[in-house]
Every structure is written in C-alpha cells, then in structure tokens.
Amino acid sequence: MKVEAKLEFQTSTAPKTGADLLIELLLEEGVDTIFGYPGGAVLPIYDAIYRAKNSIKHVLFRHEQGMIHAAEGYARITGKPGVVIGTSGPGATNLVTGITDAMMDSLPLVVFTGQVARTVIGTDAFQEADIMAITTPITKHNYQVQSVADLPRIVKEAFHIATTGRPGPVVVDVPKDISSEILTEVVKDVNIHLPGYQPTYKPNPMQIKKLSESIPKAKKPVILAGAGVLHSHASKELTAFAEKHQIPVVTTLLGLGSFPADSPLSLGMGGMHGTYAANMALYECDLLINFGARFDDRLTGNLKHFAPFAKVAHIDIDPAEIGKNVPTQIPIVADAKVALMELLKEAEKSPDCEKWREKLNQYKNDYPLWYELDPSGISPQWLIQAIHKVTNGDAIVATDVGQHQMWAAQYYTFNKPHRWITSGGLGTMGFGFPAAIGAQMASPESTVVAIVGDAGFQMTLQELSVIYERNLPVKIIIVNNGALGMVRQWQELLYDNRISESLLHTQPDFVKLAESYGIRGAKIDNQEELITSLPELMAHDGPVLIDCRVLQQEKVFPMIAPGKGLHEMIGVKPQ
C-alpha cells in the first residue's frame, strides 16, 4: 500500500517541462494530429510527445515539405488548423515552401519550429536559421517564445489568428532551452490580447442595402464565387441566393465546389483555362458580385479588359483585397456567409435577365469544353472523366500543378463543397500527393484521389512510406505525359515550339517504385485497359499507384494567353 502511494506521488510530481506544457496546450486546442519531423532543437518536444503518445497522434513524414503540404490538405478538408512541428535550421527552411503556399491560399496552419537556445541565438550556432526573419513576409503572424510564461498566451493567440478572419499560417519559434525548462508553476488560464486584430464578420448594412438595390436594376448580373465561400461554409447560402435571383455563377479555381457545377446556373470556372461562357459572362456583365475571390491575375487576365462594363460588388473578409486589383463600387467587408444571409433577407427583388441567361446558355452550348478523343492512346481529359465516373463524382480530389491540374478542374465536375484540394496561388509542384495524404487522414472514409503529373510527383514521392505505414488508401494517379507538360505547352504555343528542358527522357519504373514501398502499382497505357481495370484498382482496399500513360501532345484549352483579356480566348473550338 505504502509503495503504491509513493509511486503515485512520484508520477504526479515528475518534472514537467516547457515541452510538456506545449503538448498540453495543443490538446486543449483540440489538436488530434501532429505533422512532424524531429531533430536536435525539438528533442525536448519529442520527449514530451513520447510521454503523451496515448493522447495525441504524431505522423512522421519523410520530408518536411511533404508533411506541411499534408497539413495543408488536412486543413483544406476540415477547416481546422494543420499543426506542424519541425526542427531548427534545415527543418525550418524545408517548411518555407509550404508556409508560403498556405499564405497564398489562406490555409490555417500553426507551425512550431525548434530554435537554438536563447543564450546562443544570433551566434550562428549549429542549425540556427533566422526563421523569424525568413517567415515574416510569408506568415499571417509569427512569434518567437521569449519566456515559458508566455507560451500559453502565444499558443492560444497562434490558433486564434490562424483560424479566424482570413485564415493563414502562424509560425511559433520555440528555443530549445524553453522547451526543456523545468516548470515550477504554470499559469495556463491566460487571455489572448490582440488589440490590433479584430476581423470584421458582419457587413455594413448600408452597403448590403446598396447591393440589394443594384440587383433588380441589373440586366446582366453574374456572381463570382471564390474560396472565401468555402472558408465560410456558405455554399448552401450561395446556392439559395443565386437560385432566388436566377443569377449565373462563375467559380474560381479555388472556388470549385462552392456552387454545384451541374446547376443550370453554373457557368464553370473562369480565368486563364476557364470556360468560354464564364469568361464572356465576366467580360460582358453589368453587375459583378464577387463572394470571396481575390481577383487573382489568372482569373482576371489583363485587368484593362476585366468586367469593363460592370458595377463591381466585392464581399471579402480581408479589406485589403477590396479594390486591390479591380476598382470596386460596392465594397463589403464581411464573412461571406454572414453577408449572404443578410442579402437573402434584404434583397427582395430579382433582376429581369432572362435574355442574359439565354445568351449565356447559348455560349455554353456553342462553346463547351472540348478535346479530341484519340483512340490510339489515353486522352488526359478523358482520363479525368473516367475517374469522375468511377468515383461517382464524390471523391476528394487533390492535384499537383500543371496541365493535369487544369484538366482535373475542368472535367471533374465538382457538385459538392470541400472535395477539391489544389495549390492555386503559389502553384507548388510537389503539393498534390502529400496534400492527399493529409486529406485522407482527415477523412478516413472518403475516397481520396491524388491526380499528379509525372514531374511534380517526383518532388515529394518519398511520402509513399507514410501511406504504406498507415495503410492510407490514397489512390495516386500519375497523368504521365513524359514531360513538364504545362511548360512544354507554353513553349509550343508561345515560344515557337522550342522545347527547352521540358521533356523527361528517363523515368523510374513507377510500378516497381510503388512495390518497393510495399504499395500496389499498375501501369495503364490504353483506353480499354483503363475501362476494365480502373474500377477494380479504385476499389482496392489500400493505397494504389496507377501510372497512366497519356498523350504527350495534348494541350489545355481554351486559354487566355498572358497579357490578353477575358474576351480573347484561344482554342475555344476544335481547329
């Protein structure tokens, strides 16, 4: 009896470190998964993870870039922050691409980096990198913990900042002496103190009124739906609003799924590789209502020709986005969902725009997306349609960057929100496959397909180990054209077919590669085989890699060449 009491006494007073406190704080924030990679400066944190291993899941990736893209995929699907832990120096610098990607695409991440001890910061100590300076321009905010007493407040603030307002990445740099400090007392009940940070969620009623009054006056109204609609979980409200007033909807690349693509009001994606109908609607409209899109240049084309006849209303949670690229007559700083709810109440009268809808339907019928099906091989567009069919259009689709990304956007008709993961703003090759892993971890029951290029896949394929180890049934489909396809396309079209360093003359045997990781692999190079084996491969209870050989010469069309306006699309019809 006595011995037992003594043991109990011992555990409850076992020394607790700054790192233990950090893990406790993460648990209090509801963190269930850590995407991490250890190293010298985070050894104390890993020791705390060891002690807490029954209460928190840590997933060891094989490269810090892979793990942070996985955290982005997780964040995109759940809306919860992806939590990343990396070591100082090279661990931290390996995270830089992912942090920038999350900043560009407004994804909530809380990234903990180890740092050398406070006593040697600034001395070029072993594995010291000035990650604060490096990440200042690529984070929503960053902190270096200066005292363990600040840790509870900083962690709370970091999660708050990452997930509220316009989401984004927050870096917390933790010196090693702080994570290893033995704590004597801990004050955890702290309040966040952010007087300079008060995101606006509720729209100004005057502006809502102004917009409501403009709607019935419009003859050619169009809605642009961006990722902001998805961040605010407002697809239902958006759909109700568009249907109530019968206003056609264009989505951005990152807004795919925010409005059902099969709705008669849907015009599809706008922009560089958008549909003719969507781009002509943006060009000809007299009222453009933008919900949560930041008027990126891939969407707008040459700004001189963007919505030149329109009154522009822009609903965005970030005031700095309004008027940044496009002059805006009705600025509305608000959460998309809150604004839509107000508009559903306020905007009573609908526009009379039957003719406009007819015209746009005519465009849709006359200039649909097209490709020439070549029976001698696999057309990549057809491949995407086949994937759509086999997955009932219900999979979570993550892509890498390049031609396959555009084809996935064009041909995997997204009817539901939160099914689409892609790197839009930074266009990061190597993003797709690890992002799919994060999505599969977030949504174990869903079919998750990673549609990747043969070049981009080779940038982060080491994470095959993770899907094997955890038996994550991600389906990897390599759209293998033996080329840096998007680069090859631009060289063919814009550089007079001077194909400079954009062909991959050697490739690994992807099937053997998969097998060497313990994963089922298959190579498909003709239509028949695809039709017969794709359903079975996709139904396989575990991860699969499919090396799908597609026609190299295929190009993404239609297209707006750089510098051109929305009305100057090329490749809108077969030649």
Binding site: Q146, P195, I322
Partner: protein, 173 residues
C-alpha cells in the same frame, strides 16, 4: 507623392521588420521612418514618410499595414492639421574666426551649437524637413562634415478643423 503615415504599434520584437519588409515587398519607397515609445507602456509610435504613386496605392499600403497583427492604428495624416518635426545634427567645418558668422546664419532657424572643437561645430536643429534642408543648403559653403537626421515624427494637433475625409479612410480601423 509624399505621404506622412502615423502608425501605432505593439512594442514587440519583429514589428519594425514586418512594417519595413511589407513596404519593401509592395514596392513603396520609404523616405524616412522614426520610432519611439508612445504614451502607453508597450506601445510605440512610428512615423513613416513614403513616396506613393497614387491614391489607390496609398489605400493599399494603409490596408496592408493595418492587417498586421501588431499594428494597432494606421493613419495618413498628411492632409490633417499636424505638428511635425525632425531633428538634425550637422557638423560643419569651422575655424574660431567663422564661428560668429555661422551663428548669424543659424540663429533665425533657432538652431543651437551643441559641440565646439578646434576645427568644427556641431549644430542641432529641429523643424520641418524643408526648414532643415534650407539650413543645410546655407551651411554647405562652409564644408559639411557629417549629417545625422532622425526622420520626421508627427502627430495631430489638438484641434482639427473640419476637412473632407480621405478616400482610404472608410475601411480603416
């Protein structure tokens, strides 16, 4: 166009870096910047003089600054009733014979001689930058050895006459 932007910021490490980095990245030229403690503990005041092409760019820079978590308040005070001062230290070559002549020059500027050596004088002047520029021009013939300027610091006067609001202000905190 030159604009005077007044910033109230949390006195946290990295905030200066964030502000100057942002201006550089968004391609705004900083003419001068001055920083110091404000009336509240833990809060600093920064005065920026920036060169901006047009109102739209100006609006963008103020919004981007406002977005920073540690920035509490941003105001473009160029067109407001303000008091604005800069301090400059000017070291001029001078023999004892020239001293009274130089005194005569600086006197109307209410500048002070704060250090004297065998062959030079140190002059302190406070005022608006154009006034400082004017004095420097007058002293140049004597041989200027060194100049150190603080950059402009400024705030609003106690009383503001009614003026039209800036186009940018509708979205500012």
């Amino acid at each position: 166009m030159k604009r005077i932007i007044s910033l109230t910021v949390q006195d946290r490490s990295g905030v200066l870096n964030r502000v100057t980095g942002l201006l550089q990245r968004r391609q705004f030229n900083i003419t001068s910047i001055s920083v110091g403690a404000a009336e509240t503990e833990g809060v600093s005041k920064m005065t920026l003089v920036v060169d901006v092409e047009d109102d739209q760019r100006l609006e963008q820079v103020t919004k981007q600054l406002n977005k920073q978590i540690d920035v509490l308040k941003v105001s473009d005070i160029t067109d407001k009733a303000i008091v604005a001062r800069e301090l400059a230290l000017i070291k001029v070559a001078s023999s004892p014979q020239l001293r009274s002549e130089i005194n005569g020059i600086i006197d109307p500027f209410r500048a002070l001689i704060i250090d004297v050596s065998k062959d030079s004088l140190a002059i302190q002047i406070t005022g608006r930058p154009d006034k400082i520029d004017a004095l420097i021009d007058l002293l140049r013939p004597y041989g200027i050895k060194e100049i150190a300027r603080t950059g402009l610091t400024a705030f609003l006067r106690g009383h503001q006459p009614q003026t039209t609001e800036l186009s940018a202000s509708f979205l500012l905190k």
